[in-house]
């Protein structure tokens, strides 16, 4: 209402009016803008300033000379990075592992959500839901302890069980081939239960009348799941897939670094862009090379998010992010 009043008084020149409305807005909502200030500052310092650091990727960066005095070398760092055979391996690993994580993870989360919402018994449902979401709350360093206890060759839990069945010990930490599967299983253990919450929310929002009329028409449990729950979950599934797709070029650094750590035997299947960048930075101290990989990763990630969003708009407008 006040806005309308302000517009009426705006009989001055257009430029003057624009200025006026900026200051009058500040005057009107000054306290609200003041509230946003601390948050805006934190975001600026820790998210926007580093974007300026992208310059390093185009420099022969020397920490002693700093950001402003290091020599500018153009795309040299990038060509170095694309010529290395490691890079291709690392990119393939990142994409492969993330595709597995997203695909299998989504399937499992949707399945768990459907199963949990089909359960009648209150206490059984509550206990199982608590248990399956619990692992999400552990840090990867703690989980890596679990993994060692499970997989170590001599006294690990899995090998003890295999031993009980007379199966020879497997030395998991010396065999790269097992690791994509192991990592997927760990990711499922950690995230599938928690991921199901958002799908459960959607299911609980479905109008119960639909199920009722379906049962009057003679639909059983399975038919109701297949023809009501799943189709109505589709927009949420697409949205979650899209969100995940934007990050497909980012490896789960916390997970892989904490679990695989510095075990070069496992690099062929587990080394992802993020762990590679970390080593380039910390072990080789090659800031420019690490930065160029990081810039490439950010660019591709950015393009992927935009593409994913465009696709969402096409398929189901409700799922688009912006």
């Amino acid at each position: 209402m006040r806005e309308a009043a302000l517009q009426k008084t705006g009989s001055k020149a257009a430029g003057q009016q624009k200025k006026d409305s900026f200051f009058s807005e500040l005057h009107k909502n000054g306290l609200l803008y003041l509230l946003t200030l601390p948050g805006l500052l934190v975001v600026f310092i820790f998210s926007y300033l580093p974007i300026g650091g992208i310059v390093i990727a185009f420099q022969d960066f020397n920490p002693r000379l700093g950001l402003f005095k290091s020599e500018f070398v153009g795309l040299k760092n990038f060509s170095f990075f694309f010529e290395s055979s490691d890079t291709i391996k690392v990119m393939v690993n990142t994409l492969f592992l993330n595709t597995l994580f997203i695909g299998i993870g989504t399937l499992a989360s949707v399945a768990i959500a459907i199963m949990l919402s089909e359960l009648g018994g209150k206490w059984f449902k509550r206990i199982t839901q608590t248990i399956v979401t619990l692992p999400y709350f552990l840090s990867w360093t703690v989980i890596s302890m679990f993994i060692v206890a499970l997989l170590s060759s001599e006294n690990g839990f899995i090998n003890k069980i295999l031993g009980a069945f007379g199966i020879a010990e497997i030395s998991f930490f010396n065999e790269a081939a097992y690791w994509p599967a192991i990592l997927v299983l760990i990711k499922l253990w950690q995230g599938a239960g928690f991921g199901s919450i958002v799908y459960m929310a959607t299911i609980s929002g479905i109008n119960p009348d639909i199920y009722e009329s379906a049962s009057i028409d003679g639909a059983g449990r399975w038919k109701k799941i297949r023809f009501i729950t799943l189709p109505l979950l589709k927009p949420t599934i697409i949205l979650m897939l899209l969100l995940a797709m934007g990050g497909i070029f980012y490896g789960d650094f916390g997970m892989i670094f904490a679990i695989v750590g510095r075990n070069p035997i496992l690099y062929p299947t587990t080394d992802v862009i993020d762990t590679y960048v970390y080593r380039a930075l910390m072990d080789l101290g090659d800031m420019s090379m690490a930065a160029s990989v990081g810039v490439f990763q950010s660019m591709v990630g950015f393009i992927l998010v935009l593409t994913a969003n465009q696709m969402a708009r096409k398929f189901s407008p409700d799922s688009a992010l912006f």
Binding site: S21, E25, N29, L31, L32, Y33, L35, P38, G39, L40, V42, F46, L49, P50, I51, G53, I54, I56, P63, A111, I112, M115, L116, E118, L119, F124, I127, T128, T130, V132, T133, L134, P135, F137, L138, S139, W140, T141, V142, M145, F146, V148, A149, E154, N155, F157, W189, I197, A201, S215, R221, I225, G254, R262, D274, V277, L281, G294, S298, G301
Partner: protein
């Protein structure tokens, strides 16, 4: 009520079986680590990790609690979690509330300003340089807190919750002469408890589980948080030994493995105890926040 058919009962039964199996898959590693931490080192080395301690012993716990390391790490983690969560909630709510008000003119601009950081990053190198070289925050406990005060994801969750509150509430307070600060702290926040519990839990968890920042920026042992302590104990057997060897018992093998496990259990303890109480809040809170804004 229509009587259940045979097919329905099969579907129901398989659901029970499958969900039980998955729940077992989730819980067994916990049981294994907890029981193995309560056994003797010799039994652990001989019999391996199991679901039941063969030779019950709390020696590892005695050892880690005799040494100052774990207390210091607990202190660091508690400080980071409590102070971090309180500050983060303050900053996040202060940012989210104005963004939930439809009459705020530059709302969309600010929205995009925050959202963009979810799309594009400067990368690890730039962050590392900024924090170590230009801000000089290395080896300060604040490096674990300040950069994490705004998580865009949590901010948007909070904003969506504020949006779901009836506008007339704030409007009528305004007519009564309340200013925006008063409205936020006295009217909006008190009715937002489910959202505060949810987002607060997410922040608390992120602070509790911080280790990567510690690994990058902290080299002083006194400032190691719990999670990074575990990382050190894992990757560095000697570090585990220093904890247990400070307690001198002649002719006693240093219980490296059980010490590791006990430290892990001590770290996850508070979460496991708190979690069942908070669960119902965050499931509800997430459902509200999941509504697209």
């Amino acid at each position: 009520m229509i009587k259940e058919s045979a097919a329905d009962r099969i579907v129901k039964l398989s659901i029970y079986v499958l969900i039980t199996l998955f729940a077992l898959y989730c819980i067994v590693p916990f049981l294994m680590v907890i029981s193995s931490s309560m056994t003797t080192e010799t039994s652990l080395l001989r019999d391996g990790y199991g679901l039941w301690p063969k030779e019950f012993s709390l020696k590892a716990y005695e050892l880690i609690f005799k040494d100052a390391t774990i207390y210091k790490a607990y202190g660091v983690t508690l400080f980071v979690t409590i102070v971090g969560t309180a500050l983060a909630m303050l900053v996040t709510c202060a940012l989210a509330y104005p963004l939930s008000i439809k009459t705020l003119k530059y709302r969309n601009g600010i929205n995009f300003y925050v959202y963009f950081t979810m799309l594009f990053h400067g990368g690890l190198v730039a962050n590392y340089l900024l924090i170590t070289k230009y801000l000089g925050m290395a080896n300060s406990i604040w490096v674990l807190i300040i950069p994490a005060l705004v998580s865009p994801w949590n901010m948007f969750l909070m904003r969506n919750f504020f949006k779901s509150i009836d506008e007339s509430l704030a409007e009528s307070a305004k007519i009564d002469g309340a200013n925006d600060l008063y409205i936020l702290f006295r009217i909006i926040l008190p009715i937002s408890l489910p959202a505060i519990a949810t987002v607060g839990l997410f922040y608390a968890l992120a602070f509790w589980n911080k280790w990567f920042e510690a690994m990058l920026y902290i080299s002083k042992e006194d400032l190691f948080p719990l999670q990074y302590l575990i990382m050190r104990i894992m990757s560095n057997v000697e570090f585990a030994n220093t904890i247990s060897s400070k307690v001198n018992i002649p002719g006693f093998a240093t219980p490296t493995y059980t010490t590791r496990l006990a430290t892990t259990v001590v770290t996850i303890g508070p979460i496991i105890f708190l979690y069942p109480f908070l669960q119902k809040y965050f499931v509800k809170g997430l459902m509200v926040g999941a509504v697209k804004g």
